[in-house]
């Protein structure tokens, strides 16, 4: 029972972290129609910048400045790269971000080398907040929860209560009309792209110390972010939140409990074949839930796309 509570907290942390990435991505997608493959690369840049800054000025300065730098870089990418490619259509745009992701990974290796960086949790947060049945919950995780919830609230406030938010929401659905009303839509696009990548940067800054800061960190996260926003429904902030938490919990629980395929199959009345080691499907019988935990989101996505193409909360078909 206690373990369930611990898993709920762990899943929440994972989910909220995913949300910080997917929130920016879903905004960018719904506004510009671009599936930004380089989104996780900005997350990586956030971690590396924060590491570099933390060496000189400490963790907190890094938390403030690194996302800003990442956001400015993101805006620059939109202004000087994407906007140019935009005229050729969506596929070249997507491929542009794909190439960008490769290039960023190479550049990070060029600058920082290929090793894992010793980017650590700040001492002030390096203690155990509380324990549940011997499982310690580090204070840093509580801190991560607060940061991400804060960002979600802020985002929700800006989007629903401020004038800028209204314009963005309108531009999401009717870019031409908004432009006709005298708003600078390219500027809005650039701003949204910048903010979206900055959010990814924040995620990188706070995830770097726990999940590791290394050149492969973007690749590890890469496609799962897309999966999240597709499951949630493209363009839906709430969808992104729900899908992130869903994925966080599904993967956490799947890893925490060793459910074997043979148990399930036996449970529904199929007996284990006698000579399992000679059986063609022997590997399927021995599959356990932790083995497939990280591909469950993909299965979920394919199923959702087949049966509900708009995603959980999406209004339009992708």
């Amino acid at each position: 029972m206690e373990l369930i509570l611990v898993n709920v907290i762990d899943g929440l942390v994972t989910g909220l972290l995913l949300f910080m990435l997917s929130a920016g991505l879903t905004l960018i997608f719904s506004m510009m129609g671009v599936l930004n493959f380089a989104h996780a690369s900005f997350y990586m840049l956030g971690a590396y910048f924060a590491y570099q800054i933390s060496l000189a000025l400490g963790f907190w300065v890094g938390l403030l400045i690194a996302p800003l730098i990442v956001g400015v870089m993101g805006a620059g990418v939109e202004r000087y790269g994407l906007r140019r490619v935009h005229q050729y259509g969506h596929v070249p745009e997507l491929i542009f971000t794909f190439g960008l992701a490769l290039l960023i990974e190479e550049l990070v290796q060029f600058v920082w080398g290929k090793n894992q960086m010793a980017y650590d949790i700040p001492d002030i947060l390096n203690f155990t907040a509380f324990s549940i049945a011997g499982n310690s919950i580090p204070a840093y995780k509580i801190f991560m929860i607060f940061i991400s919830v804060g960002i979600f609230m802020g985002l929700l406030y800006v989007l629903t209560k401020t004038r800028v938010g209204m314009i963005i929401q309108a531009a999401l659905s009717y870019p031409r009309t908004v432009e006709a009303l005298g708003h600078n839509v390219p500027l809005i696009f650039m701003g949204v792209f910048g903010v979206g990548t900055a959010l990814a940067g924040v995620a990188g800054v706070i995830a770097g110390p726990v999940l590791g800061t290394f050149p492969g960190m973007a690749f590890v996260l890469g496609s799962i972010v897309f999966v999240t926003i597709v499951i949630g429904g493209l363009g839906s902030l709430w969808g992104a939140l729900v899908a992130s938490l869903l994925i966080g919990w599904i993967t956490t629980f799947a890893k925490s409990y060793n459910i074997a395929m043979s148990d399930i199959l036996n449970g529904i009345g199929i007996a284990t074949p006698e000579n399992l080691s000679d059986n063609m499907f022997r590997d399927l019988w021995t599959v356990t839930s932790p083995q497939i935990a990280d591909i469950l989101p993909y299965i979920l996505m394919v199923l959702i796309l087949i049966f509900r193409p708009a995603g959980l909360f999406g209004k339009r078909e992708s």
Partner: protein, 414 residues
């Protein structure tokens, strides 16, 4: 203007041909390992150790035979079996007869088979495979061949030695085994179960599981399970980011016992573990460097550090590879006839500067050597890793580990 065009044409051509231009007198060793991509740090560090070892142990001492130098030719295989096979072909075409590779047993499997086929089909350009790090036991058992030599201990030997040390600790009651879901992870788990149940039948294995390799972002759920199981020891074969992620996560989430593992040092990992993992991680390896075994080794390490301040000698067996190859070539009197060289290597006994003897077992081409279990600490460390102040200090040693272990290898000799 014309000159520029000409220059351009010439340079374009030589770009392609350049790779094949050879220095006739050198004995070339192709180093086929990842130099770009996610595993590049290990590969690059290995390359530096090879280059340093060749210069330091052979070239600066006048070379082998009548003054021939060793030359390490790097090939980037991007840790892909396909690329490795292409690079192997390129290397063979450049007249290279010695292939060194170590990262990834998958690549090693592909290479050893390709080399066996190549040597059978092209007797004029046979090559030897110097495997310095791929530890899949199959390579010296079912899949063994005459051309393959393994200088590292295989996963079974390492586990045998590791469990010898573990078994001596009476307080250990519950063990958790976790690893990456692929051949090596499974081999480690199987060996751990077999060894523990014979050496310490009283010890309970409270968990034995596999996780996807290179895909786990957050190890917290695994850490929870391990803590909840009440394990007082963890055995894992994880490496790279999976090792770091697992190690940090279990320590952070309240696990108190030791982690017994294979690859948790160097390549940035020692620095990243730092204080948090002090006295918690125990590594099995050959050739311990703290305390250093010989003065020669100390001088070598000092020279290496002077040349590569950011590098580590974390695979000291590379020096054994170079030393043993040089000795074999001297013994055979030729570097071109790889069969003669291979026959010299078979059964060779070599005194390593890192301490102890190395015996290349002729029946399966598996090097038998001393195995050390070391602890991750910052005390008594002469040679740290990653300039972090932390390193691995040898706590116990198993001499000539698994000398008489059985092998299923049926070596076919030419």
């Amino acid at each position: 203007m014309k000159n520029i065009t000409k220059l351009g044409a010439v340079s374009a051509l030589s770009l392609i041909v350049g790779a094949t231009a050879a220095f006739a007198d050198n004995i070339k060793i192709a180093f086929i390992d990842p130099l770009s991509g996610p595993f590049a740090s290990t590969g690059t560090n290995g390359l530096h150790q090879y280059q340093f070892a060749a210069d330091h142990m052979v070239n600066e001492k006048g070379g082998v035979l009548d003054g021939q130098n060793f030359e390490i030719v790097p090939f980037d295989n991007k840790i892909s079996p396909k690329e490795s096979l292409i690079q192997l072909q390129v290397a063979i075409d450049q007249g290279i007869r010695y292939i060194a590779q170590g990262n990834s047993s998958g690549v090693a499997n592909a290479l050893t088979e390709a080399i066996a086929k190549h040597n059978k089909r092209n007797p004029d350009s046979r090559v030897l495979f110097l495997n310095y790090a791929a530890v899949d036991p199959a390579l010296t058992n079912d899949k063994c061949n005459f051309w393959h030599f393994r200088f590292d201990a295989n996963a079974d030997i390492k586990m045998d030695a590791l469990t010898d040390v573990m078994a001596a600790d009476d307080s250990m009651k519950k063990v958790y085994i976790i690893g990456q879901d692929y051949s090596f992870g499974k081999a480690v788990a199987a060996a751990a179960v077999a060894n523990l149940s014979s050496k310490r039948p009283d010890v309970e294995i409270v968990g034995n599981e596999l996780h996807p390799i290179g895909k786990v972002k957050d190890f917290t759920p695994y850490a929870r399970k391990i803590v909840a199981s009440g394990a007082d020891a963890i055995i894992t074969g994880n490496w790279g980011a999976d090792m770091l992620g697992l190690g940090k996560s279990v320590i952070e989430n309240g696990y108190e016992g030791p982690i017994f593992t294979y690859y948790a040092a160097g390549s940035g990992m020692t620095a990243a573990f730092g204080e948090s993992a002090k006295d918690r991680i125990r590594l099995i390896s050959q050739g311990g460097i703290n305390p250093i075994a010989t003065e020669e080794a100390r001088a070598t390490y000092d020279a290496f550090e002077a040349k590569y301040p950011e590098g580590n000698i974390d695979q000291s067996r590379i020096f054994n590879v170079i030393g043993m190859l040089a000795q074999a070539i001297e013994g055979a009197g030729t570097a071109d006839d790889v069969v003669a060289v291979a026959k010299q290597l078979e059964g060779m006994e070599y005194d390593s500067m890192w301490g102890g003897k190395i015996f290349m077992r002729p029946q399966d081409h598996q090097a038998i050597q001393d195995m050390h279990v070391g602890v991750h600490t910052n005390e008594n460390i002469d040679f740290d890793y990653d300039n972090s102040g932390y390193g691995v200090f040898t706590e116990s040693t198993v001499t000539m580990a698994s000398m008489d272990s059985p092998t299923t290898c049926k070596m076919k000799r030419p």
